[in-house]
């Protein structure tokens, strides 16, 4: 990643450097999406082979029990994800947005959050939802078309999924400003907020404005960018010349790239970032370097635009396998444990399926509910008219 340095020393106007070559495509891509390496800046605590490694800045003391918990989380959310994907294939959901491959990034981040913290997801954060106590059962409704989001965002401290790319970053910045205005920032008990978005989202104006606001108002906000290498069919180099964590450089807050397939590193970095925020040193940007193993959504076919070799390479870096290897190799978990988690996953999948296929259809009148907190007579009139019309059918009038 030395290519950006080229730009840092402006050349004298008379010198021939004005014709200096562009960085080569290889240089750019190396910095953006090394399919096997995240570059030297990548924070990693657990290798793809399941070995613990040290990092000079980030440490994580973790008990075998906690490790098993993270493993369990990841297995369960993956299983729920696959089940939901299957439900879509079977016509039970209109759409599914898979998290496959991003379990470590999401569980690492989600488990770093405290109950008093707030989180603003994009639309793929089923793993973070899990950590916030939002059951997959509560998520499938919006993909089945029975609601636009079922959980209580205030009670769970987990905002509804946001589909318009980037919007949630500003909403999160405002929320985090409120945490500061409320005097909840400044010590170990401080609150913080984490907002999730993708590599593609970094191009949106709203994400930038959120950087500006969070920086200017010292908001306790962790920007958590899951760089899964793709924005539908577009690779990260369509969005940026530089690795995304470096975007923070221009705003005056830290940006860190973590191995998003390493749940331990993600947990450590996310915890540190949240600590910074709750103590008043926010915001912080984290780029979790990971990979979208499945298509963008069930409507997408990733084979149209990316090479299977790339997918194969990333398979070797699977976020769950490496924890499993680590647990096994160190005797932190035995067969019974792994079997138990499998059984739990089967159970979860069954519960999810059962719940999903039995979701009640919303009554037509629901359409008119909650447009306003204080009902509008004009809309009430529309509803009345529509219900009279429907009643006409019921009475066989038409």
């Amino acid at each position: 990643m030395s290519s950006p340095e080229r730009w840092s020393q402006p050349q004298p106007s008379g010198a021939p450097a004005a014709t200096a070559a562009q960085p080569t495509a290889e240089q750019v891509i190396a910095g953006l999406r090394a399919t096997s390496e995240g570059g030297p800046e990548l924070v990693q605590l657990l290798t793809p082979e399941g070995e613990r490694v040290d990092h000079p800045d980030f440490h994580l003391d973790i008990t075998p029990e906690e490790l098993r918990g993270l493993y369990r989380d990841m297995v369960l959310v993956r299983r729920a994800d696959r089940e939901a994907n299957a439900l879509q294939r079977q016509g039970q959901l209109g759409l599914w947005v898979p998290l496959l491959g991003q379990e470590a990034a999401q569980i690492g981040a989600g488990r770093a959050l405290r109950p008093t913290d707030m989180a603003f997801p994009s639309y793929r954060e089923h793993g973070v939802a899990w950590c916030r106590g939002v059951h997959p059962n509560e998520i499938v409704g919006m993909f089945r078309g029975v609601d636009h989001g079922a959980w209580d965002p205030v009670e769970r401290r987990f905002h509804p999924y946001t589909i318009v790319i980037g919007n949630q970053c500003l909403n999160a910045a405002g929320y985090a400003m409120g945490q500061r205005f409320d005097g909840k920032v400044g010590d170990d008990n401080g609150e913080a907020t984490m907002v999730f978005f993708g590599d593609g989202a970094t191009s949106q104006g709203d994400v930038h404005e959120a950087f500006v606001w969070a920086a200017v108002y010292d908001a306790p906000l962790v920007f958590f960018c899951q760089n899964n290498q793709w924005a539908i069919s577009e690779p990260t180099e369509r969005q940026s010349r530089l690795p995304l964590y470096q975007r923070a450089r221009g705003y005056g807050f830290p940006g860190i790239r973590v191995d998003g397939n390493d749940v331990l590193a993600t947990l450590a970095v996310a915890r540190w970032a949240l600590e910074e925020c709750r103590h008043g040193n926010g915001p912080v940007l984290i780029e979790a370097f990971t990979y979208r193993m499945d298509s963008h959504t069930t409507s997408d076919d990733a084979t149209r635009y990316r090479l299977s070799t790339e997918v194969e390479e990333w398979k070797l870096k699977d976020p769950i396998e490496r924890v499993k290897a680590h647990l096994s190799r160190n005797g932190f978990a035995d067969h019974d444990f792994f079997d138990g988690v499998e059984a739990e996953a089967d159970e979860l999948a069954a519960v999810l399926r059962e719940h999903c296929v039995n979701l009640p259809e919303p009554p037509p009148g629901r359409m008119f509910d909650n447009v306003y907190a204080e009902p509008s007579p004009a809309l009430r009139a529309q509803q009345d008219e529509y219900e009279t019309y429907l009643a006409g059918f019921a009475g066989g009038e038409h």
Binding site: M177, G178, D369
Partner: protein, 340 residues
Amino acid sequence: MAAPTMDRSTDTPSAAPQKITMIKGLNQALRATMEADPKVIVMGEDVGKLGGVFRVTDGLQKDFGEQRVLDTPLSESGIIGTAIGLAIRGYRPVCEIQFDGFIFPGFDQIVSQLAKLHYRTQGRIKLPIVVRVPFGGGIGAVEHHSESPESYFAHTAGLKVVACSNPVDAHWMLRQAIECDDPVLFFEPKRRYHEKAELDPSIAPQPLFSSRVVRKGSTATIATYGPMVKTSLDAATAGAEDGLDLEVIDLRSLSPLDLAPVYESVRRTGRLIVVSEAPSEASITGEIAAKVQQECFYSLEAPVLRVTGFDTPYPPAKLEENFLPDLDRVLAAVDRSLAW
């Protein structure tokens, strides 16, 4: 910083009737709600030390501090987007958009989040956010400073839209808007900012989302709002000299529309002229015409006519007198209606 108080009896800065400008009426409304509720905050570009380019927020930062009156970054999407987050956190933000033409960078947050989050969450998130917008022309300004974008918001379900026309309404309507649990787009007719009226705090205001007959009459009905209320009243006065007895209705609420008084009036007069500065195409004035021709089909003696800005971008200031409806254009429409 003035100690905030929850005592509603101190709501009104002054209990005695006083003659105030619209700016003052708005300023006092902000002050009153901020004193009554520590969760009310004001945010926008230059609203702090400067008191806003129109001085509507004058003195508020001095008295309530920088955390309740925020001089924000120059970013309208940021203003709306963070206000949403602050509202979720329990605040009641009053956002100022500096001029009508600068609301568009914030349009996405308004349409995609502000209007929809309550619905999306089945009512679990409330967004008591007021977006104040000085709007309309008549001040000889350069481009983007004289627009009437209210129809965009009236077309957006989930928002409420109001426009005040005089200092007293400005005061009360803003207070009511801040107290409303829904997002309210609050349009202020900037060319009427300096007009004065007596605010008597002992006279209780009418409900926010209701229209008002401001002049009784029998020849024809004029329905209008914001800056055109005065123009229409002037037209009615001038028309009276020609023997026209015009009824004028100040719509006040643009979404939801409160058209019952309009229907009632049209059933009496048989004629309706809708007046607005905004271009007519796909607008609130079209909505009113569509509704009235339906509700008063058998009462109308002439079609509903509209007197509006033309379907052009806002022209250079020297042409705005031509662009904007004036007394003559209103009366010409009345004549056309009568001659139908």
